[in-house]
Symmetry: C2
Subunit: 398 residues, 2 copies
């Protein structure tokens, strides 16, 4: 399994820190938003004497609360449709292991969340990319692009909606298109909906669970990590109305005994989180998004489609090799004592050579820091351009 370009940057960030340079971390999806107090309070009030295994599918009481959360979204699921997991990560692993055999293929629009690669390697599954394009804001590729890739080894399609890394929110029409492909070719449809609550400008999030006739095809991945800024609790879950699929996934769930116990206690308090919490968080991210896009678009040569959801923007920079540029930012550049850490775009593509002038920017800092980070980036791009011209600096990244 190859190292991701993001990971390769870590040692350079360490050395920048050692030099006393402040780093604006826009490279990872770790929000600075506070976890709801009611969830932390639930953990602080832990009263059990023995920290025992929970049910392998997760605490029954927690699964009932998940059912109620989905009821609130107008979606009907049962506790038996849910397996609680160590983050959405484990849900993806269980699903790949349950639905695909080694050598089977899964079509995924690229750029996609780089960690999907890790789970597919572990499951022996081939991720087959279908390329989406910055020109149309990373919309769903055309149906013919999917059909060109479908063969007897193809077992499913996986999307992230809203998308990490592009922030794209799939329309009802696009999901209907996927529904048709899936029914026509009898495929699974895996949808990562962990950013569901983060849709901006009145965009509607359409859950794949609301589409008809897909009971046997759909698995949804969900998590408290981003919604409630509780990444470290490691609580996610998979949902499927396909009983046979759940039965198979339960065998993997049973092998690892149970999901994290304390995290489930925190997660179970989700329903008590005041409505205002998510409204405030959404409003905060929306401000940051507008700030980021506005500032980015002021920089000559930068192209940034407006992200409709999640908390990422995927932008094109006026550089040839963003991996080299991102390393240079950490190794050689600082402006007013600070620099910026971004995620090189190529790490989100499976197709060789794509995304080389792109970066993912996570807007997980407050608007003031974002503005400072963008001033820093603007300055950096100017210096970088002249360095490249003047010194012909080494472009091959390690």
């Amino acid at each position: 399994m190859p190292s991701s370009p993001i990971r390769k940057l870590v040692p350079f960030a360490e050395s920048a820190k050692k030099k006393g340079t402040r780093i604006y971390h826009l490279n990872i999806g770790q929000p600075d938003i506070e976890t709801p107090e009611v969830m932390l309070q639930a953990v602080r009030a832990y009263a059990e004497k023995v920290v025992a295994y929970s049910h392998s599918a997760g605490k029954e009481t927690y699964r009932e609360k998940i059912v109620r959360y989905y009821e609130g979204l107008g979606l009907k699921i049962k506790t038996d449709d849910i397996i609680v997991t160590a983050g959405a990560s484990e849900a993806i692993s269980f699903t790949m292991n349950s639905c695909l055999d080694a050598g089977d293929e899964l079509i995924v629009p690229e750029p996609f969340y780089a960690n999907y690669n890790g789970f597919s390697v572990a499951a022996g599954v081939q991720v087959i990319p279908v390329t989406s394009h910055i020109e149309d804001g990373f919309a769903l590729p055309a149906i013919k692009d999917f059909e060109l890739l479908i063969n007897e080894r193809t077992k499913g399609i996986m999307i992230c909606n809203p998308s990490n890394p592009t922030g794209y929110v799939y329309s009802r029409q696009e999901l209907q298109t996927l529904r048709e492909i899936v029914l026509k070719h009898d495929l699974f449809l895996f949808v990562d909906e962990v950013y569901r609550e983060f849709c901006y400008d009145g965009r509607e999030h359409v859950s794949v669970l609301s589409l008809s006739d897909l009971e046997q095809h759909v698995v949804v991945f969900d998590s408290i990590s981003k919604r409630y800024s509780a990444c470290g609790a490691r609580i996610g879950y998979m949902i499927s109305r396909n009983a046979e699929l759940i039965e198979t996934a339960m065998k993997f769930a049973q092998a690892r005994l149970s999901p994290p116990g304390f995290g489930q206690v925190a997660a179970e308090a989700c329903l008590e989180v005041p409505k205002e919490y998510l409204q405030d968080v959404l409003s905060e991210y929306n401000d940051r998004r507008q700030t980021l896009v506005e500032e980015l678009r002021k920089i000559p040569g930068v192209i940034c489609p407006e992200p409709g959801g999640a908390f990422y923007a995927f932008a094109q920079l006026p550089v040839e090799d963003s991996e080299h540029f991102c390393r240079w930012l950490l190794e050689e550049f600082s402006f007013e004592g600070a620099t910026v850490m971004l995620a090189p775009g190529s790490g989100f593509y499976a197709s060789q050579g794509l995304g080389k002038n792109q970066v993912r920017i996570a807007y997980v800092l407050n608007s003031e820091d974002l503005r400072a980070a963008m001033r820093c980036l603007k300055q950096a791009l100017e210096v970088y351009a002249s360095s490249v011209e003047e010194k012909g600096i080494e472009k091959t990244s390690g």
Copy 2:
């Protein structure tokens, strides 16, 4: 992946409970021992505002404490040799995925912990059993038995020491034998040492980390689950001095982002657990062990080697098919309003047909309940024998 015989019993246990029958649960390794107060207190004092991802290898501060715990055992490891995981389960998964390719073989003495099957299926690894025998207390099989199984696909040997399910504690001599096999054939040696602290009658636990020249070969699995009765926290770890192996395993660790956060907070308090805690727990388990073995040996036709460690006994019963008997115990039997739930032996063997008259008994109940459970079992075996004779009851289990 086939359902384990233990899992198959669950619905019958449910129906026994519905009839109001008390069940003595000796089927699973969920102790009734209280988690140390200092660990619970650490979680209750959680003061972070954002429940953030930890390092993918686990909190640096926690890994330092693991290093100090091992120092206390006279074993020298570094924080970089450790990856903290969601229970030892995830450590086993990472290790299998890192060290073996699909189709590779791992030799495991049987009977073995049934969940190893789940992890090997997920990793595409073939578990090749080498049979140990009740007659010699499930000692390490002869070296020739191992060598008969070694071929070009063999990549490693895995043992559990002290053993779940047999309670066997491997001697220094046996570990030296394994060391020789491993060096001669250049194999990995994976050792599950989660029951390390539970050795009775002055038996010494020899960690495989203390053997020379095995730095490149050994991975140890460890966990707080049993030691501190904190199964639900889901905190374990893998240890290896093989830097390349750790580097590969880290890619799987990074794909799932981080181990459970709150669980790490509890785990980090381990070093503050008073020495008396483990001494008391050991003494309690030792009492139970003696009670169990004494009572079991009073039952005609029962053979039970003395378990030297962990909290399991693996016994032979005077029945033809323990899977049927265990189901019958739940479905049809009760004595003084109670029955016993045991784990059928066959589930711990990979070889077809072995262990059919054996059961694993976890002594996770207090001595009084254990005595009552054994009276119940004695009575049950009598009734069962006469039912079989009289009615010729159906012996094929579901």
